[in-house]
Assembly symmetry: C2
Homo-oligomer: 340 residues x 2
């Protein structure tokens, strides 16, 4: 089959790879209908995470089950399925508590490289969720977002504590931040302030439900947020970047008793215990337990109540994956969808 | 009047001070019935917080209202009252949200030095809570704890997310930690594990409801907690110390999806964003909004349902305040009560 392989920073190639095969009796093999490039793939692409050997890449996927192992009982060949980047048994205490990304038997699905024609998914029964039927082609982008970027934005909103009537701030206008806006809206936030400097992203944020845009950063950004919230700060802040600056921005944007949801893997972030303490702000988050939200997200998409697929502003055949990486790296594209 | 004055590290004196007087029309003057030495006073006593000029000290108090300002409407002379170390209007949005220690008009009551015969309390209506009548003498120690140390332990349990059936860990066996145990029990925790190496404190922890004691620290401490919690970690961890070691101990003792409540002012604590993120643990807390809990705590004490006053293992006349500081500094006493 064909699959994307990262050879070195900036060096993305689509090459022939061995077809995936069942290894464990709990595996499934999926024929990929759509996959995409994640902001976190850029950490590898940019060499911030060193790449030693040529590495299959990609961890967002949806598609049709081709084969299942002998112990798979709920997932069947022919079903259209979506799964998270973390394979989980969905039965251990951490899974039952809703933290499938801390599953006692978790495996990183992306190790197999989801930007490909086919993918092996471990722990298929606990990881994959089937749609009610085979989806129309135009639903594919939205369904694909549920695999990671929508589930992650949704978790940001949940972890931040968005409730009906909340005032929310979204730090970050990447795909996760934009879908954080959509999620905050779905969870009932009345006012949603997005910190963004890019006109096209501001526009999409408004489509997804943003009510206010703040272009300032740092002290000025905090002052703007305070001005928009009667001097109080926001009830819930979605931190969708993962840098020291963005974390500080988020912490300072929340009101005492408010919450910050962190979903971007922190790079070089150290938090002052004293700042955290004096802020009276609750911090929660981590690797999104996407599996927790998949049934609900699939239902919302299937019924046409949300259209998160709009986050893809570039769609390419898999063979042009390198163009998708380059476009996202230079911020010409928010998110690139790839069709095998 | 007589009052405690800290002159320099280790130099605590009881001296003549001017009687407090009404300054603002929202003030009250209280005749102190009982006061005490707080673990946080030791930061000053030990010179960790530098003392420039002789400083009246103490911020825990209960007593009888002597005089009120012209704008005080709910508090009356003759009432027995308890207040927090933070004066709050109890009407601003932060107060209404339950974060009175972030009140828009907050003042530090301790600036007046509560270890004295009398004390000026600003914002009396929003700060003080009257008991149903004049208390018997034996209730004084318990009522005094509500002023800070019990309210702070209670907030640790609330911020950590203790619920009926929870497994809780308490890091720290000082007065706050011990009353954190009592609080976790009251909030319904079924299993309460205390990290303590001091036999007398372990004993009191058991009186307050601890079910297990862990004497190990660091990796061994975490291993013990995991062993006691089926490998999972605790639902709720009360961090009642405020050092880097205690914070790390707390974070590593909680299960994914669990919470850490921080109530000890952090000294030199920096938190790795990545550790926090990967832990899946929620962190909340800060300066305890004691005022939120005062009515409930007073009721529990008044009805004899809790006896937090046992945390005082030393009671001295005010004139011997220096002995109280020395006993706590050397950990010979958990907490010293002072009677003017």
């Amino acid at each position: 089959m064909r699959g994307v392989v990262l050879h070195a920073p900036g060096d993305v190639r689509v090459e022939h790879r061995n077809d995936p095969a069942i290894i464990d009796p709990t595996d499934a093999i999926i024929r990929i209908s759509a996959t995409c490039v994640c902001g976190s793939d850029l950490w590898d692409y940019r060499g911030i995470h060193p790449v030693k050997d040529p590495m299959p890449i990609g961890h967002e996927y949806c598609g049709i089950v081709e084969e299942v192992g002998a112990e798979v009982t709920t997932i069947r060949p022919g079903q259209f399925v979506i799964g998270s980047f973390t394979a989980s048994d969905n039965t251990c205490p951490h899974c039952l508590a809703g933290y499938q990304s801390s599953c006692e038997h978790r495996q990183y699905v992306g190790a197999g490289g989801a930007q490909a024609e086919a993918l092996r998914v471990p722990l298929a029964d606990g990881t994959l969720v089937a749609t009610p039927g085979l989806p129309d082609d135009e639903l594919l982008p939205s369904l694909l977002t549920a695999s990671d970027v929508l589930g992650t934005g949704w978790f940001a909103a949940v972890a931040a504590g968005v409730r009906p009537g909340s005032t929310a701030v979204v730090v970050g206008d990447g795909a996760v931040g934009l879908l954080g806006v959509l999620s905050a809206r779905q969870l009932g936030a009345e006012r949603i302030i997005v910190m963004s400097r890019h006109e096209s992203r501001q526009k999409l944020a408004r489509v997804f439900g943003a009510t206010d845009i703040v272009t300032e950063r740092g002290d000025d950004g905090v002052a703007q947020i305070k001005e928009l919230t009667a001097g109080l700060g926001a009830d819930a802040v979605l931190e969708c970047v993962g840098t020291g600056e963005s974390f500080e921005q988020a912490l300072r944007s929340a009101r005492p008793g408010g919450g910050v949801g962190i979903v971007g893997l922190p790079h070089g972030v150290t938090v002052s215990g004293r700042d955290l303490f004096l802020s009276h702000v609750r911090v929660a988050g981590g690797p999104a337990p996407v599996r927790r939200f998949l049934p609900e997200l699939i239902e919302l998409i299937w019924e046409g109540r949300i259209d998160p697929g709009q986050v893809f502003d570039l769609a390419l055949p898999l063979d042009r994956a390198a163009d998708g990486y380059a476009a996202m790296d230079s911020r010409r594209a928010v998110k690139a969808l790839l069709r095998p």
